[in-house]
Each structure stands twice: as structure tokens, then as C-alpha cells.
């Protein structure tokens, strides 16, 4: 029931094409179209957050230069995953500002959408999101907090139940996770998987993170953990590459409410981009 391709289930030699009414559309065309759309959305988003044009173009470029977006076999799923992660981050940050009905529905809907795009990551994010929000809602009574969580989680939980019932692939992924055994013994592969996280970890150590930052970090950590875990099952690193493409977009979302200053964001995204391409090189030379 996953929307589009699932980047975490990838066959390296398969060439997928998108067919509409029997006409085959080359994957690079679909990938290029989606990439252009994503770039446009990023630009508009950043400009509407009063980011100057040069920084907006630079930040958008750094996100789009991620290796996952240029591998057209997985760019469709990477774009969808980016949109889902960006949506969840935006909805969560918006919810932190004010807990009104629209924002509650938006957050619940974005978590449900995340599960449709990537069931495992979406489910993990749904589980940890209340924890990320917990500290900011300390002033509420226990009853009020329960009501808030029930309202946020109602639609995502129903979506998860539907996916479990309807999606056989998701069930096999969860089963595989429960009996996780690494099929890639190489240290190089593990380093390649985790290398792009290094800039983010360094940034975490350097500056303190407030509630909005915790949201961004938790969304990113959920993505990384599920991607690495699924990679260990799937013997492919491409999903991790996709995860870092998404992470870059999520970091950009963090720029818009002035969570990250533009120079910080530029530095972090540049470092993540360099690490991602290094990761791809490491994997390729390991094969």
C-alpha cells in the first residue's frame, strides 16, 4: 500500500519505467520532473520564509544535489519520502506554535501520509512524535494530554492498522526487523551508511537544541534508523542515500522558522552533501 516506489526495497539491476495508458515514460523524465517540482517547492518555501534569493537558491541546490535524487531508479521514492518527511516536520513545528484543531488534523494527516509513503518509517515516527512533543506540552493536565494524543494519533493508528492488514510487504519487513541479521559484514558498508549523519551529530554537540530542533532531529533519526535497518535486510545502501536526501530537506524545513540560521544551514547541508557522495563512493568501491 506504499505510495510509489519503496526506496528501501530496491533491485539494483531493474530498470523501472512508468507507464501511462500503455506509453512508457523513461524514469529519468519522471525523476527530472519530480526534481524540478521539489526544487520549485523548496524555493517558494524558503522565499516565503523571507530567506534571501541567493541563500534560497543555494540551500535548494544543496538539497537537490543529494545522490539519491540523481539515481533515477530511486528518485521517485526519494522525492515522495522527502515530501512526506518535510510535511511531518512542518506539521509538527506548526503544532508546537499552537495546538488548535487545524494543526492537530494536519499533524495526524501528515503522520498517516508518512505511513502510506514508507510504512516502517511512518510508524516509527508516529510512535516517537508524542515523545518529542511531550516536553512542550508540560503545562497540560493528564486528561488534557491524553485527549491531545488521542486526537493526534487517531488517524495514523487507523492507517497503520489498515496497512498491517492490507500490505503483505510491510508485514515481511517488520518480521525481518524482528529477526535482524546483517547480511553485509563489511565495516566499510556500515561506515558508508552512517557517514552522512556525521555533520548532524557534530552540530548536535556544538549547539543546544530546543523543542523545534528536537522534532527535526527525531524525524531524521527515525528515518536513519529505519533506513539502516532495512538496508541490513536488503543488502542495499540506496535507501540510506535516499534517507540523507530527505534529511537535507528536513534541515531546510528547519531553516524556515529560523530554527537554523542560513549560514549554519548552508554549512550543515554542504557537509551532509559531501558525506552522502563519499558514502556512495565508499559503497561503490566496496562492491
Amino acid at each position: 500500500m506504499a505510495l510509489g516506489e519503496d526506496a528501501t526495497r530496491h533491485e539494483p539491476n531493474a530498470v523501472r519505467e512508468c507507464s501511462v495508458s500503455g506509453v512508457s515514460v523513461p524514469p529519468w523524465v519522471v525523476g527530472a520532473a519530480l526534481l524540478s517540482g521539489l526544487g520549485l517547492v523548496l524555493l517558494i518555501w524558503l522565499r516565503s520564509a523571507r530567506c534571501d534569493p541567493a541563500t534560497s537558491w543555494l540551500l535548494s541546490g544543496l538539497v537537490l544535489a543529494q545522490p539519491a535524487f540523481w539515481d533515477f531508479r530511486i528518485s521517485v521514492s526519494a522525492t515522495l519520502l522527502s515530501a512526506a518527511a518535510g510535511g511531518v516536520s512542518f506539521a509538527a513545528l506548526s503544532f508546537l506554535k499552537d495546538q488548535d484543531v487545524r494543526r492537530i488534523a494536519l499533524l495526524g494527516g501528515s503522520l498517516a501520509g508518512a505511513q502510506l509513503v514508507s510504512p516502517l518509517w511512518g510508524t516509527v515516527t508516529t510512535i516517537i512524535m508524542p515523545l518529542a512533543l511531550r516536553r512542550t506540552l508540560d503545562d497540560r493536565t493528564a486528561g488534557g494530554l491524553t485527549g491531545l494524543y488521542v486526537s493526534i494519533l487517531f488517524i495514523p493508528v487507523l492507517t497503520a492498522i489498515g496497512i498491517v492488514i492490507l500490505d503483505g510487504q510491510f508485514r515481511s519487513e517488520v518480521w525481518g526487523l524482528a529477526h535482524l541479521r546483517s547480511t553485509q559484514a563489511g565495516t566499510r558498508s556500515i561506515v558508508a551508511s552512517l557517514l552522512p549523519a556525521a555533520p548532524l551529530v557534530a552540530a548536535l554537540l556544538v549547539r543546544p537544541w530546543d523543542a523545534p530542533a528536537r522534532i527535526i532531529v527525531l524525524v531524521a533519526v527515525a528515518l536513519l534508523v529505519t533506513s539502516v535497518a532495512l538496508d541490513l535486510m536488503a543488502i542495499e545502501s540506496n535507501s540510506v542515500s535516499a534517507a540523507f536526501a530527505v534529511l537535507s530537506l528536513v534541515l531546510v524545513v528547519g531553516v524556515t522558522p529560523r530554527l537554523l540560521s542560513p549560514p549554519w544551514a548552508l554549512l550543515l547541508l554542504s557537509a551532509t552533501l559531501l558525506a552522502s557522495w563519499s558514502s556512495v563512493w565508499l559503497v561503490r568501491t566496496d562492491v
Binding site: V101, G144, T146, G147, V150, S151, F154, I155
Partner: protein
């Protein structure tokens, strides 16, 4: 559940109808009228047990606007199931009467209320009754189809899917709206009770069938809701 029901109706649905300009079936707790408007529509219908709902529709048909005000009148909820059933029976019977009266001439209703008003009336008055009456039927089809082969008893296989979709969509939507309903009042601690909406809706269905029975056999019976019972009960508690 009553608080959730009212919060949804008065804090979301009625303001929504106001904003969309759809005829509003009034509730009788607090209404304020211009006397000349009341006289123009010849007052309340004495044969309708929800005369206020009917009044709202007739005002709209005359081209008069009904709005919601940003004020609250608190009302005592029935705290006995017997009283709740009687009250809900009367409301649903009144909705049936209102629908039947205004649909005697559908073209006139369409002309007076406009397209959005006409379809809004079908949805909020007719739809309320129809959904309550259909709900047990959908549950019955769904439960039966889970255990027996429907075509063998003359029901198509698609009935299972239709009943499932209807139940899921209806109950999920109703529960979710009821969950969000109390937010404006800050009554977040009531939201989890919205998970019991499927059961509450079955109770509403029971009232609907009771209403249908009364519509045929005793249409003008008015089962007055007793008020002050909460105070009486709390006074009697040692």
C-alpha cells in the same frame, strides 16, 4: 458523549452552516428572533415536535438569514438513559417531520432555498435520519457477510465491501469530528470518549427506529425531557 455531541453541533457544524449560508435547523436552547420575522412565517409549527428545527428552515425559505452568535448557553444533559432515548426519539421524529413537510414540494424548496440550501437540507436533516436508520443495516450486512456466503441468501458480494466502507467512513469521520469538537472549549479530557462513537451511534439508531414507529402511530406525542435531575440526584447523594 452528550457534551461531545453538542460541542460538535454548536461549535463546528452550526457555524459551518452559517458560513456556507445553508439553512440551519435551530436548536431550542437559546434563540433570538425579530418579532416581525416570526410573524412573517406565522410562528412555530404546533404539529412539529422539533418546531425550532422547522423554524430555521422556514426562515431560510423566506430569504431571512439565521446566524450563530459568539455566546454560550449551558444546558443540562440527560443523565438517565431512558430520558436520553426519549429526547433523541423526539428530535429524530421532528427531523423526519421537518423533512417530510419541506419535501412536499421539492421544487419550491429548491426555488426558495437555492441549490446549496436544498442539498444542505437533504444532508443535515434528511441525512441525519437516514444515516441513523441505515447504520444497523450496514452493521448487520457486514457481520453476516463475515460469516456466511451472501449470494446464497440473495445479497450481492459487493454488499460486504459497501457496508465496510460505509461503516469505516461514517464511524471514523463521526468519531474524529467528535474528538476535535471540544477543543474550542478546552475540554480536551473528553476527546478520548469519542472512541465510543460507534456505540453511541447505535443508540442513536435505536432512537431513530423508535422515532419512525412513533411517526406512524403517534406522530404528535411529545416526550418532554425532564430537567433539574442532576441537581435532584446530587442533592439526594449523602
Amino acid at each position: 458523549m452528550f457534551a461531545l455531541d453538542y460541542a460538535l453541533w454548536f461549535d463546528f457544524l452550526l457555524p459551518g452552516l452559517d458560513k456556507l449560508g445553508i439553512p440551519m435547523p435551530l436548536g431550542g436552547t437559546s434563540n433570538h428572533f425579530r418579532v416581525d420575522a416570526l410573524r412573517a412565517i406565522h410562528g412555530w409549527d404546533p404539529f412539529n415536535v422539533t418546531e425550532d428545527a422547522d423554524l430555521g428552515i422556514r426562515l431560510a425559505r423566506l430569504g431571512l438569514r439565521v446566524c450563530t452568535l459568539d455566546s454560550t448557553t449551558y444546558e443540562e444533559a440527560t443523565n438517565r438513559s431512558r430520558d436520553w432515548l426519549r429526547q433523541r426519539t423526539r428530535w429524530l421524529k421532528g427531523y423526519m417531520q421537518t423533512w417530510l413537510v419541506h419535501m412536499r414540494s421539492p421544487r419550491a424548496l429548491l426555488r426558495n432555498a437555492g441549490v446549496s440550501g436544498f442539498f444542505g437540507f437533504q444532508l443535515f436533516v434528511g441525512g441525519t435520519v437516514l444515516s441513523a436508520l441505515l447504520n444497523p443495516l450496514l452493521w448487520t450486512i457486514f457481520i453476516l457477510s463475515s460469516f456466511i456466503n451472501l449470494p446464497m441468501v440473495g445479497i450481492s458480494e459487493g454488499a460486504h465491501s459497501i457496508s465496510l466502507v460505509g461503516l469505516l467512513a461514517g464511524n471514523v469521520l463521526f468519531a474524529y469530528l467528535a474528538m476535535l469538537g471540544p477543543y474550542r472549549r478546552g475540554w480536551l479530557d473528553l476527546s478520548p470518549f469519542a472512541l465510543a462513537i460507534p456505540l453511541y451511534w447505535l443508540l442513536i439508531s435505536a432512537a431513530a427506529f423508535r422515532a419512525l414507529w412513533q411517526l406512524v402511530h403517534d406522530p404528535w406525542r411529545w416526550e418532554k425531557t425532564p430537567h433539574g435531575t442532576s441537581r435532584m440526584l446530587s442533592e439526594n447523594v449523602p
